[in-house]
Amino acid sequence: MIEHLKNKKGMISLVLHAHLPFVRHPEHERFLEEAWLFEALSETYLPLLRMFSRLDEDEIPFRLTISLSPTLTHMLQDDLLRQRYVNHLNMLIELAEKELIYTAGNPEEHRMAQMYHELYSLNLKEYEEVYERNILKKLKYYQDRGYLEIITTCATHSFLPHYQNYPEMIRAQILTGIESHDRVFSTQPKGLWLPECGYFPGVEEFIKPYGIQYFMSSAHGLLYSEDRPVNGLFAPIRCPNGVHAFARDRASSRAVWSATDGYPGDPVYRDFYRDLGFDRPLDYIAPYINCGVNRVNTGLKYFAITDKSDNKLIYDPEAAAVKAKEHADHFLDNRIRQCEALSQYMDRTPIIPCPYDAELFGHWWFEGPLFLEALIRKIHEKSDDVVLVTPTDYLKVYPQNQVTKPAFSSWGDKGYGQVWLDGNNDWIYRHTHKLIERMQELVNRFPDEKGLKERTLNQAAREVLLSQASDWPFIMKAGTTVPYARKRIKEHIHNFNFIYDSLSRNTIKTEWLTKLEKKDNIFPFLDYRVFRKDY
């Protein structure tokens, strides 16, 4: 296999990072932000599984890397959220049925209503009957078939550079993430997605003990390494402790990320922003939006991007599918030419690492899964030239790589830590750092508790981890659902401090604790001693 790969013009490594923060609100009958998961399931995860199944049936081998965050895998296994997803689909099927009547006099819109009715009905059928509400089992199946390399990330997707002063916490985030992965997939992950590609020199020392071979870095994280990377971004570098860093190829990132000059901005593709939730009369759409008054996206979008005006053309799925194939051809053609150009200067086969947010494919770029499928099929056709590999495959072919250390970096705006540390969100660190210090103090005070106290301490550890999700400062900076993000951070800090004070007074309220355990029920295996210095 190794010699076979060395003879190619290039290797392409598609890495999809699937992550959502822990959002679960049993205290509310319906909760708006839980739709983040439902939309990702409907538009990204189920379509991707459908794509894997078609490729498998057609005997097209593929090698993809998927990073699944522990918060996401927990939510995908949660009975309450599974039931709510089914309710969500039933609600959308009902809306689509209503739309079939509403649009009866408009053949173009009627066709759209039919499309969504079929799509949501298929989602429901497959979710219930094929996956039995557990899509992780199917992902594991594709991993066992050799098609997927599933990797993990930190427990709650913490932006590690802003916690580098707390080694026990970095370890707790990484170890809990790996343990969570192991419990779901029964394997040790070979790679670790550093949340937001947030690297600081030395983080590799926390990764190495768990058998992790590689992580993904931003482009400049690798290019600004201690020694200049002699192969640019087209070969990984090896940190002095043996862990490898693969960097994001900028050209292929931009091609699929940019709304202006990337593929997803093509006029024939479905418009993400024009949603029925904003187009239909309020009394008609009320049962399907937030509290019956706040218009929100329903997921039913009838228009193509067309142009920047409000006069949009109705979406044409067939035309969009043709375009997705054209774009896949174009993408691959460019990668092959890129590899040919690179080969002039390299003494090995170049690798083009293409890491993306998984939810880009389908949720935002509706045709993204079609693009990926067409790309994979095309790569299979052109397998004499290029091949899909995982970073692990590459390391088997080329185990020896340039030794140096990447630079502090992230994939955020301007490339460092400012997305997660600016005037909108810097207030959180005084509190989240204090929580870590207090947690360590609790571990020292209560080194080996059992029963109610142990439960309390484990819940305290959960609250510490949950407070550190990178999503909350990210949302505060990006300006979407800011009150919710602020509330979440405050809640976790408040819950922890309440536990801390209760333990100090020895007045643990069992009922309150049980309620909190049921609400923030992530990482049931968590042992609070993970915060101990010598754990």
Partner: protein
């Protein structure tokens, strides 16, 4: 937030929304004009947010797009008040980017009383200390500069004079023209913002490969992320690269 939704709010609620969004409204403005002002401000805010973020962040934000302008929700989130400080004596330094750090600190009430009551107390200083390694010792101090602070200051962004070095900060009290250490922060290592020069006798094609990675070909000098942002963004860079190759040939 839609125009229709804004019309469902009372005039007072609309004024509250404009207050929260720091949107200036002429006193006595009618409801329709107020709504129109708010809609314009929301749109401007949305465009600005989009422009300020890079592609990765724009994409990530879309995962959370179930609605628009949720930040103007009239719901309260301040029922869970957090302490402003924890009555500790400590300072913490966080690296934000190669040139900026964020520092937050706290001084115990007891300590504050003690300092304020010291005869000859003149003020507080935030000393930014450059070190030649991450470990603090007097011998490792390369340079420092002072920023005067007050007792009710608790945080600050600091622009650093040097890259690729180490820093810590100290809170110091000035008493009778001498300064005394109150607390010292953790040390941080700042970072490079350039591609390092090739090693002597470098026989690789690293210049070409780094250029083909989308970075400048002028590798002898520091080349920062700000420059990196300005590199022409090309969906089909390989065509350009090939053209350049042909031109060079």
């Amino acid at each position: 937030m839609t125009e229709e939704r804004l019309f469902s709010f009372s005039y007072e609620q609309l004024l509250e929304i404009s207050n929260r969004g720091n949107i200036f409204v002429t006193p006595g403005v009618d409801k329709e004009t107020l709504i129109s002002l708010l809609m314009d401000a929301f749109e401007e805010d949305r465009d600005e947010r989009e422009e300020l973020n890079n592609l990765a962040i724009q994409m990530e934000a879309r995962k959370f797009s179930v609605s628009r302008d949720e930040e103007l929700d009239l719901g309260q989130d301040d029922d869970l008040e957090l302490p402003l400080r924890y009555n500790d004596t400590s300072a913490t330094l966080l690296l934000r980017d190669p040139s900026w750090v964020f520092c937050y600190w706290d001084l115990e009430d007891k300590k504050v009383d003690e300092i304020q009551n010291s005869p000859g107390f003149q003020g507080l200083l935030l000393r930014v200390v450059e070190l030649n390694t991450k470990e603090y010792s007097q011998d490792n101090v390369l340079d420092y500069f002072d920023i005067p602070i007050k007792f009710n200051d608790y945080r600050r962004y600091i622009n650093l004079p040097s890259v690729d070095t180490c820093y810590c900060v100290e809170i110091r009290a000035v008493v009778e023209d001498k300064d005394y250490l109150i607390t010292r922060s953790n040390s941080i290592e700042t970072t490079r913002e350039y591609v390092t020069a090739p090693r002597e006798n470098d026989i690789t094609h690293s210049d070409e490969l780094i250029r083909m990675s989308g970075f400048s070909s002028e590798f002898g000098e520091a080349h920062g992320v700000s420059g990196y942002q300005e590199i022409p963004q090309r969906i089909i860079p390989i065509h350009d690269l090939l053209d350049e190759e042909q031109f060079n040939d």
